[in-house]
C-alpha cells in the first residue's frame, strides 16, 4: 500500500507545486488523478516516482511510504525498481532506435546479468505482443505502438506500481484503444496503477477511484460509480471530461447550397512513391465545421497537409471558391494546426507569436488580447512559448490559427491534451469562427468535441 501523509512539494524555481497531500492507495487499485490543467497532477506523479525532488529539484516535505518502507529517504534508482514510470510523449522517452535494445534499457542500467537481461527483454516483447515489430525502427512505429514499447521497457523490472503521466496526450484514437488494453491487462495482473489524465472515458471499467486536484491540492475523491453520476453541468463546472465513453454521433457528409468554399475533384495524394489517398471528392461550404474521421494511417493528416499546401504531391483538383488553387496559393488561404506543438513557435513570447506576420492595428491587438484571455493564456502573454505546458501550447497553436484570417482552417487532434473546460472553450471559439463564414475541418475522434461543435463528418478511407 502507498501512503502519502501531509506531502508538499514546491519546485526550486517557482512557487508552483502540490500541497498537503494525504492519499492512500491500495495494492491493485487503479487511481486516476484528474482536474484542470496546471492543477498539480503531473507534479504528484513526479513526487510518487521520485523524479521530484531527485530530478526536478525542489522542497519536499511529509512522508511517502510503500508498505513499511520510507520512500523519501531512498535514492531514485531504488524507487524506480518498485515504481515504473510512463510519460506523455513516447517519442522522447527512447534511448535506442531498436526495439529490443530499448526494452532492455532499464535492466541494463541495473547491471543484471546478460542472460537475465535477454530473458526479461524477450518476456516483455512477447507479453506486449511486440514480436512483429522487432525489426522495425522505433521511429517508424505508430504512437500507440511506441507507448506500448515504453510500457514494456518498464515492465522488464516487474514493478508493483505503475505511474502514468498523461499517457494519451500524444496518442491517436487507435493508440488509445491499444493503451486501454495494455493498462487493463496490468490491472488484471494485480498491479497498482496511478494515472494522471484529462481524457477519462478510455479508463471506463479500469479505474476504481478518481482523485481531483486543483491549485495543487486534493479537492475531492470519487469512486468510478459516483463519478458516473455527475451531471453534465457538474462536470463542466469542474472542467472535467466525461468519465464514460461518448458515442461518436452519426453526422452526414458535408452538404450545402450556393458555392462551396473548398472542393476537391478526383484528388489523389502521393508521399514519396506511395499513393496515400485516391479519388477524394468532397465539398465544404462556408460556416461548416466538419469532423474528419478514419482509422489510423488512413491518410487524414496527409489530406490536411496537402489541402494546406504543406506536403504531398497532389493530382486532381483542389478548388477554393470554385477556382483551382495551386499549392503555394493554398498556403495563404488554408491554415493547418498540428497537434505536435514542439516545433510550431518561432518568437520569444506568447503575444508576439500570436502577432507574427500580422499588421499591428488596434483591432488585431484587441483580437489577440481577447483570444489569449478566453484561452486562459493572457497571464502568460510575455512568457516564452517553450516554457508553456503541453495543453497551453496546444491552445496557443489554435489561437494562432484563429488569428490567421485564413478562410479554411484545419486542426489535427486539437483536444488530445486539453481538459474539459478548455475543450469547451475551444469548441465555442470554433463555432463563432464558423459563424463568421469560415470553414473548419477537425481531424478528431473526440466524441465530446464532435458532439459540441461539428455539423458534418468526412470519413476518410
Amino acid at each position: 500500500m502507498i501512503a502519502l501523509r501531509n506531502v508538499s512539494f514546491t519546485y526550486a524555481d517557482s512557487d508552483y507545486g502540490v500541497k498537503e497531500i494525504d492519499l492512500s492507495i491500495q495494492k491493485g487499485e487503479c487511481v486516476v488523478l484528474t482536474g484542470p490543467s496546471g492543477g498539480g497532477k503531473s507534479t504528484l506523479t513526479r513526487v510518487l516516482n521520485g523524479l521530484a525532488p531527485h530530478y526536478f529539484y525542489g522542497r519536499l516535505s511529509g512522508t511517502i511510504t510503500i508498505g513499511n518502507d520510507d520512500f523519501t529517504q531512498k535514492p531514485i534508482w531504488e524507487i524506480s525498481r518498485q515504481i515504473g514510470s510512463v510519460f506523455q510523449d513516447p517519442k522522447s522517452q527512447f534511448f535506442s532506435s531498436e526495439l529490443a535494445g530499448e526494452i532492455a534499457f532499464a535492466t541494463e542500467n541495473y547491471g543484471l546479468a546478460h542472460p537475465e537481461v535477454v530473458r526479461l527483454t524477450h518476456q516483455a516483447i512477447s507479453h506486449f505482443k511486440l514480436n512483429s515489430l522487432i525489426n522495425r525502427n522505433l521511429d517508424d512505429l505508430s504512437s500507440g505502438e511506441k507507448q506500448r514499447v515504453a510500457i514494456a521497457s518498464v515492465y522488464t523490472l516487474n514493478p508493483e506500481i505503475y505511474v502514468f503521466d498523461e499517457p494519451t496526450a500524444n496518442l491517436d484514437a487507435e493508440g488509445v484503444v491499444q493503451l486501454k488494453q495494455t493498462v487493463s491487462d496490468l490491472k488484471s495482473s494485480g498491479k497498482t496503477l496511478i494515472i494522471a489524465e484529462h481524457r477519462l472515458s478510455w479508463l471506463d471499467g479500469i479505474v476504481d477511484r478518481f482523485v481531483y486536484l486543483k491549485d495543487g491540492a486534493i479537492t475531492w475523491e470519487k469512486t468510478a460509480k459516483e463519478m458516473g453520476k455527475l451531471t453534465k453541468k457538474q462536470r463542466d463546472d469542474a472542467w472535467l471530461r466525461s468519465s464514460t465513453p461518448i458515442h461518436i454521433p452519426d453526422l452526414p457528409r458535408p452538404a450545402g447550397q450556393g458555392s462551396p468554399l473548398l472542393s476537391t475533384t478526383a484528388l489523389s495524394i502521393k508521399r514519396g512513391r506511395n499513393t496515400i489517398l485516391q479519388n477524394q471528392n468532397f465539398k465544404v461550404w462556408p460556416g461548416q465545421i466538419i469532423s474528419v474521421t478514419g482509422r489510423n494511417g488512413a491518410g487524414k493528416t496527409t489530406l490536411a497537409l496537402a489541402l494546406a499546401g504543406l506536403d504531398g504531391k497532389t493530382s486532381g483538383k483542389i478548388e477554393i471558391l470554385e477556382k483551382s488553387t495551386r499549392r503555394l496559393k493554398r498556403r495563404s488561404r488554408v491554415w493547418y494546426s498540428s497537434n505536435e506543438t514542439g516545433t510550431q513557435f518561432f518568437t520569444n513570447s506568447v503575444s508576439s507569436e500570436l502577432l507574427l506576420t500580422q499588421n499591428l492595428t488596434e483591432s488585431t491587438l484587441e483580437k489577440a488580447r481577447e483570444l489569449l484571455k478566453r484561452l486562459g493564456l493572457y497571464q502568460y502573454k510575455d512568457s516564452h512559448p517553450a516554457t508553456l505546458s503541453g495543453g497551453q501550447r496546444l491552445r496557443l497553436s489554435i489561437a494562432c490559427g484563429l488569428m490567421s484570417n485564413r478562410e479554411i482552417l484545419i486542426f489535427d487532434e486539437p483536444t488530445s491534451g486539453l481538459d474539459g473546460g478548455n475543450m469547451n472553450i475551444v469548441a465555442t471559439l470554433f463555432r463563432e469562427l464558423a459563424k463568421s463564414g469560415k470553414s473548419i475541418l477537425i481531424i478528431t475522434h473526440d466524441g465530446e468535441l464532435i458532439k459540441r461543435c461539428c455539423d458534418f463528418s468526412l470519413p476518410i478511407a
Binding site: I76, F95, S97, G101, D139, G342, L356, A386
Partner: protein, 214 residues
C-alpha cells in the same frame, strides 16, 4: 582514434589511410560499403590527377571541393563505419570496456540525436510554410530573422527533448552506481585491441611523415 585532421598532398600517406579504412571494412565484411568507398576514391583520384600534374582546370566541378573530398575520405570511411554500428552493440562494447554509465548514455544520446534532428527540422520547415515565413519576399527582407526562425525552435526543442529523455533515463535506473550490463553480447576482443593499436600507429606515422608540420 582514426579521425585525424590532416591536410597533405602526400598521396602515399593519404592512400595508406584510405586503404587501412577499406581493410577495416573488409574485415567486417561490409563489402558493399567498401566497394563504394573504393570507387569514390578512384574517381576522385582520377579527376585530381590532371589538376595536380598538368594544371588542368576542370569545368563545372570545383577543385577545392574535390580536394576536400579526397582529404576527408579516410575520416568519412571510419566515421560512417562508426555511425552505422547499431548503438546497442556500441553500448555493449563500451560496457565491456568498463566505461562509466554517463559515457555510455552519452554515446546512446548522440545516436538518437540524428534521426530526431531530421524529424524536428522537417517539423520546423512545415510550420514555417504554414505561417508564411518561407515566402521569398519575407526571406529576402529578413534573412537573419529567417535563420533565427529555423534555429531557435530547433534548439529549444532539443532542450525539451533532452529534458524528457533524461527524466525517462533517471526513472529507469540510469543513476544506479552498478556497472552497466548489456542485451547485446558484444565482447571486447583481441582484434578490437589490435585495431586500436593499428590506428594509433597509423595516426602517429601519418602525422610524422606527412601531416601538419609546426
Amino acid at each position: 582514434m582514426s579521425i585525424i585532421v590532416a591536410v597533405t598532398a602526400n598521396v602515399i600517406a593519404m592512400g595508406s589511410l584510405v586503404l587501412l579504412g577499406l581493410l577495416q571494412l573488409a574485415i567486417q565484411r561490409r563489402w558493399q560499403f567498401a566497394i563504394r568507398a573504393f570507387i569514390f576514391y578512384v574517381v576522385i583520384g582520377a579527376l585530381l590527377l590532371p589538376v595536380r600534374f598538368q594544371g588542368v582546370n576542370l569545368p563545372l566541378i570545383s577543385e577545392i571541393f574535390l580536394l576536400t573530398s579526397w582529404i576527408i575520405l579516410p575520416m568519412a570511411i571510419v566515421g560512417w563505419d562508426l555511425m552505422t554500428t547499431p548503438p546497442g552493440e556500441m553500448a555493449s562494447t563500451l560496457s565491456k570496456m568498463k566505461a562509466p554509465t554517463p559515457v555510455i548514455l552519452g554515446v546512446l544520446v548522440i545516436f538518437r540525436f540524428f534521426p530526431t534532428l531530421k524529424s524536428e527540422i522537417n517539423g520546423v520547415f512545415r510550420s514555417m510554410k504554414n505561417r508564411s515565413l518561407t515566402d521569398w519576399q519575407h526571406i529576402v527582407r529578413h534573412p537573419f530573422l529567417t535563420a533565427e526562425y529555423i534555429l531557435v525552435p530547433i534548439l529549444l526543442r532539443f532542450l525539451q527533448i533532452a529534458d524528457q529523455l533524461s527524466a525517462s533515463a533517471v526513472s529507469r535506473g540510469a543513476t544506479n552506481p552498478n556497472v552497466r550490463s548489456s542485451y547485446y553480447e558484444k565482447r571486447f576482443e583481441a582484434r578490437d585491441a589490435v585495431w586500436i593499436f593499428v590506428w594509433l600507429v597509423a595516426t602517429i606515422a601519418f602525422l610524422t611523415i606527412g601531416g601538419v608540420k609546426f
